[in-house]
């Protein structure tokens, strides 16, 4: 505080110097040893004042800055750290998530902790009265959710409505009616708002996060399966019951204005009482009242959702509603058009022309489309992904229109756009378009529209798979370093795509690194990924140093199979993996381990491949050990493989073997020829 006071004093001192000059020398007038401040922007002005002798000094207005301006400036200096997990996950190192599943539970855990604390504080406010913060911090204090007014009055009713106590409000309303008090129109309307919005059910207690997650997931599932009706049933589980409190109170109200009707219609549509909503609209018209734009939006939705009608009829009904809007001079808004487009998606092929016309209409009357608008268009035009030949090119128009623009949230579905745009890019296999979409995402603050976690993962998985498919491998690897893990955690399929890209570009030397990464991102037990890695490593011969690296990687993968054995009851060793690992050991000169692998074949009742046996033979020849060679022939014999004979022949030709060994060989081959007939069917390698 002392320093603060001093600073003020200094300011004063210098000011006083100037104002007093000319009159008389003030106490500090001869104090040129005052602190010197650099950066004097107003020098010319003051000098002029000096020359002309005008004593009035124009004091520049103090600039007031937003309280977060400094922080915003600082925040903009921080870039994403490509080597670390996102900031939101930075915590105790032990807790930092390494896979998308973990990151999701991390966020959920964090949020539910917050919610639990809030719940405790709010349900026991009397224990949390101590206010230790100076100055007072309101958001840390308990909120009061219990009504404070005890008597029966309209004020009490208003308080209950404000606290969103559905049942208490209805009770209070009834008590007021019984007492003979008339409730004002305004209060009744807000009571109707409450009842209609929540469908005459108590709003769920403050776990918005969970709730929204749930509905999103349902939505996601519905979108993937294109099962819209199911979604409707699930998401609006809270259906409108006939004769509910809202309808009762609506009937009891002595006077009703258009707001009463409108909120009823909106409530009915929200809770899927579509027929009632349309009927109520007729009633509203009969009473010579007017609906507002929100009600029309709800009615459009109701028309589109109503069952047992052909798309053509529905579309005509929607047009009829729009004409009524125009006649009643109701101005349509963004939601009007978004609702139409959203509903047109359900008409599939029929919806395309109307959708385009609707879109042009909204542009023509100066309503700027939001991201959700484009999302609906994309969904409508790229509904059937399998028809690649006749796929629409509307995405190019959309992207041309959007590139370089910045968005602000205007529709609850705005965060779906990037996901669906990237889906189209991936389906069209157009890398340039994908870069364009990604560029748009990185314009300004648009990245905030990527949506919740699963949508971001979807977007980046598609984007990265496309990169793997189409981009040069060096660029792909650059993106790999850039995006993973600081933006998203790869799924195993993403990694397989990358492996295939590496294969195409002949950059197999990166594989051990990819395996290390995939272990880190929680794919240690993904057998499809492991098989792919092993297959790629074992397919061709490589320079020795690379073979050593591959063998190390193979040993690591082998250990995961073994630890999996301990973890799970069913040990699953695919024959391919056994083959590949053995080959890799052989090629790296780790003969001992390779021989151990041969033992595993027996243990897991799998059959070694011909190629593998030949390679073993090569290795035996290289070390000129006939014993090993015979061992191989024996092994082939125990599996009754047809290759046994060839191997035996090779042993005879290539090795100097003793008489006994020769005899042993002879026995082996005769054995196999006997059992050949029944083993033919069983072996496929």
């Amino acid at each position: 505080m002392a320093a603060v006071a001093a600073r003020r004093w200094l300011r004063f001192r210098c000011k006083v110097c100037l104002t007093l000059t000319g009159q008389r020398a003030g106490p500090c007038g001869q104090a040129p040893n005052c602190r010197f401040y650099s950066g004097s922007a107003t020098v010319p002005k003051v000098e002029r004042a000096n020359v002309t002798g005008i004593e009035e000094v124009v004091i520049p207005r103090k600039k007031t800055w937003d309280k977060v301006a400094v922080l915003q400036a600082l925040a903009s200096t921080v870039n994403r750290d490509t080597t670390a997990a996102p900031y939101a996950f930075q915590d105790d190192p032990y807790l930092i998530p390494t896979s998308s599943l973990e990151s999701r539970s991390f966020l959920l855990a964090k949020k539910s902790g917050e919610n639990a604390a809030k719940y405790i504080i709010n349900s026991h406010p009397k224990y949390f009265q101590k206010d230790i913060a100076e100055p007072h911090i309101p958001c840390l204090m308990p909120e009061y959710f219990e009504p404070q007014i005890e008597d029966i009055s309209e004020a009490a009713l208003r308080e209950r409505i404000k606290l969103k106590k559905v049942k208490a409000s209805v009770d209070m309303f009834d008590q007021l009616l019984q007492a003979g008090t008339t409730v004002s129109l305004e209060t009744s309307n807000s009571l109707l708002d409450l009842l209609c919005y929540y469908g005459d059910k108590e709003p769920s207690t403050d776990n918005h996060f969970q709730q929204s997650e749930k509905s999103e997931e349902l939505e996601e599932a519905a979108e993937e399966n294109n099962e819209k009706p199911k979604k409707a049933n699930h998401q609006f589980g809270n259906l409108w019951r006939p004769e509910n409190n809202a309808e009762r109170i609506f009937a009891l109200m002595p006077e009703k204005n258009s707001h009463s009707y409108c909120t009823m219609i909106r409530g009915m549509v929200k809770h899927r009482a579509l027929v009632q909503a349309l009927n109520l609209y007729t009633e509203l018209l009969n009473n010579k009242l007017h609906a507002d734009v929100y009600t029309f939006n709800a009615l459009i939705e109701a028309t589109a959702l109503s069952a047992h009608e052909k798309p053509e009829d529905k579309w005509n009904n929607i047009l009829e509603l729009l004409k009524q809007m125009a006649a009643q001079k109701v101005k349509p808004n963004l939601q009007t058009f978004n609702t139409i487009l959203k509903c047109l998606r359900r008409f599939h092929a029929f919806g395309k022309v109307p959708a385009l016309q609707t879109f042009r209409e909204m542009k023509a009357i100066g309503i700027e489309p939001s991201l959700a608008t484009y999302h609906y268009l994309i969904q409508l035009f790229y509904h059937h992904e399998n028809h690649s030949k006749g796929s629409s090119l509307i995405i190019y128009d959309i992207m041309n229109e959007l590139t370089g623009r910045k968005f602000s949230p205007r529709d609850p579905d705005d965060d779906m756009f990037f996901q669906s745009a990237m889906r189209v890019c991936s389906f069209l296999r157009d890398l340039e378009l994908a870069y364009q979409v990604h560029g748009l995402l990185n314009t300004g603050d648009n990245w905030k529209f990527i949506g919740p976690d699963h949508r971001r993962n979807f977007y980046y998985s598609k984007f990265f798979s496309l990169l793997c498919l189409m981009e040069q491998i060096d660029v792909t690897l650059k993106w790999y370093k850039d995006l993973i893990p600081s933006v998203f955690f790869p799924r195993s399929q993403t990694l397989i795509d990358l492996l295939q890209a590496l294969d195409v570009a002949n950059r197999l030397e990166v594989i051990p690194q990819i395996w290390k990464d995939s272990k880190e991102y929680g794919h240690t037990f993904r057998s499809d990924l492991k098989e792919e890695i092993l297959m790629l490593m074992a397919r061709d011969q490589h320079p020795p140093e690379l073979q050593v690296a591959f063998a190390n990687c193979a040993a690591d993968i082998k250990s995961t199979y073994e630890s999996q054995d301990g973890r799970q009851a069913a040990p699953e060793w695919p024959a391919n993996s056994l083959n590949s690992i053995a080959v890799l050991f052989l090629r790296a000169g780790r003969t001992q381990e390779a021989w151990k692998m041969l033992g595993l074949f027996k243990k897991h009742n799998k059959i070694p491949g011909n190629k593998l046996l030949n390679e073993f033979m090569d290795s035996a020849k290289a070390s000129s050990s006939p014993a090993q060679a015979i061992e191989i022939v024996k092994l082939a014999g125990t599996f009754s493989l047809p290759i046994c004979e060839d191997l035996a022949r090779r042993v005879m030709a290539d090795f100097a073997i003793s008489q006994e060994q020769k005899e042993a060989l002879g026995n082996l081959t005769s054995l196999t020829t006997d059992s050949d007939s029944d083993s033919d069917t069983s072996e496929g390698k």
């Binding site: 000011k15 000094v57 800055w65 903009s76 966020l107 090119l393 529709d411 295939q500 002949n506």
Partner: protein, 360 residues
């Protein structure tokens, strides 16, 4: 001299906040431009693949594609003719086509000075392979070769010719894209080739970019008119209903994202009121009806009613001096304080007269 010093003293104080702020502004703009740059490379990556500067990189890949495609089909003669071009690639490329080279071990290693006969052979081989309008392809290739021959003769370093060869071969790839190709590449690669090929055929660049009608423009519904929509309706002031409030909440959730850095978290805390507000100065939480510091500091103007000189004046100047240093009082309180002295001296006028001091 004194004046200058005083000016120098005053100006920084006045400009102090401003400069500070400007500096912040400065960093701000720099940061924004940095951000732009940061986003630029993402474009850059895409550009790079097309740009002619990085032809080497690009064509290397194209060349590899071609060579891979050829692996099986080519006869020994063709393989020999392709060899020089592949030999000239960098080491890494050699590694990538190692398997191909293995079969070429006995091919002539010495490269002739003039590349044209080899290239001609290569061109015809490639044209053979493409089976797509053999003659045109070949002649096109040869024409290009002739063009480049000049260059390769003047600059005998292999680098230059390498680029030209790569160019040619990459060009060939474009020319053949319409034909179906027999390839031995992994399955997904084949799929992708076919996919792009069919798409390419469908949206030849002209169609895609310029000639095609913009689907977002054209006939509309013609129900609403700009005039009726834009004209201001009489707006009745009503409190936002529950619907509006909840919709606003939904909208706010749309672009809610996990925080990106510690400063973003501090911004959030500031907005929630949990954090001391920046910039941290002596005015935080100090609401003085919007009065500014000069009103706090320059209190001389309130001394007009006091004598111009003498002990009262002297006393009052000391009072204002003291007040201007006091950070705890509001402007109103300071003025009230001065008022109090004025009343006090007015009340004591007779005593002052006795002592020979004039108040006015």
């Amino acid at each position: 001299m004194v004046w200058a010093a005083r000016n120098a003293l005053l100006i920084p104080v006045v400009a102090g906040t401003k400069n500070n702020v400007q500096r912040n502004f400065g960093t701000n703009s720099v940061n924004y431009s940095k951000k732009d740059e940061q986003s630029a490379p993402t474009h850059g990556i895409s550009k790079e693949t097309e740009s002619q500067e990085s032809v080497k990189e690009n064509t290397k890949k194209d060349l590899l594609d071609i060579i891979k495609g050829m692996k099986i089909e080519l006869s020994t003669v063709n393989v020999q003719t392709t060899k020089p071009s592949s030999r000239r690639q960098r080491k890494s490329v050699e590694a990538t086509i190692g398997s191909l080279q293995k079969t070429l071990e006995d091919a002539p290693k010495k490269r002739t000075k003039s590349v044209s006969p080899e290239l001609e052979a290569a061109a015809s081989a490639v044209a053979d392979f493409l089976r797509f309008d053999k003659q045109t392809t070949k002649s096109e290739l040869l024409r290009q070769l002739q063009q480049h021959e000049e260059v390769s003769k003047t600059q005998k370093d292999g680098e230059r010719t390498k680029i030209s060869v790569s160019n040619i071969i990459s060009d060939m790839k474009v020319a053949k894209s319409a034909t179906g190709r027999v390839s031995t590449r992994p399955v997904h690669q084949i799929q992708f080739d076919e996919g792009t090929d069919s798409l390419m055929g469908q949206k030849t660049d002209d169609l895609k970019k310029s000639l095609r009608k913009n689907m977002l423009k054209g006939k509309r519904l013609n129900i609403f008119y700009l005039k009726t929509v834009t004209e201001e309706a009489p707006k009745t002031e009503t409190a936002p209903s529950l619907w509006d409030v909840e919709f606003a909440k939904q909208l706010a959730m749309v672009n809610e994202q996990p925080l990106q850095n510690g400063f973003a978290e501090m911004i959030q805390w500031t907005k929630e009121g949990k954090l001391w507000e920046f910039p941290i100065d002596n005015e935080a939480g100090f609401d003085d009806d919007g009065s500014e510091f000069h009103e706090h500091v320059f209190l001389d103007k309130h001394l007009k009613d006091f004598p111009k000189q003498g002990p009262i004046r002297h006393f009052m100047e000391l009072v204002t001096c003291g007040l201007s240093k006091n950070p705890y009082l509001s402007v109103k309180q300071k003025i009230e304080h001065i008022e109090w002295f004025r009343n006090y001296f007015n009340e004591k006028q007779d005593i002052l007269k006795e002592s020979g001091i004039r108040l006015n």
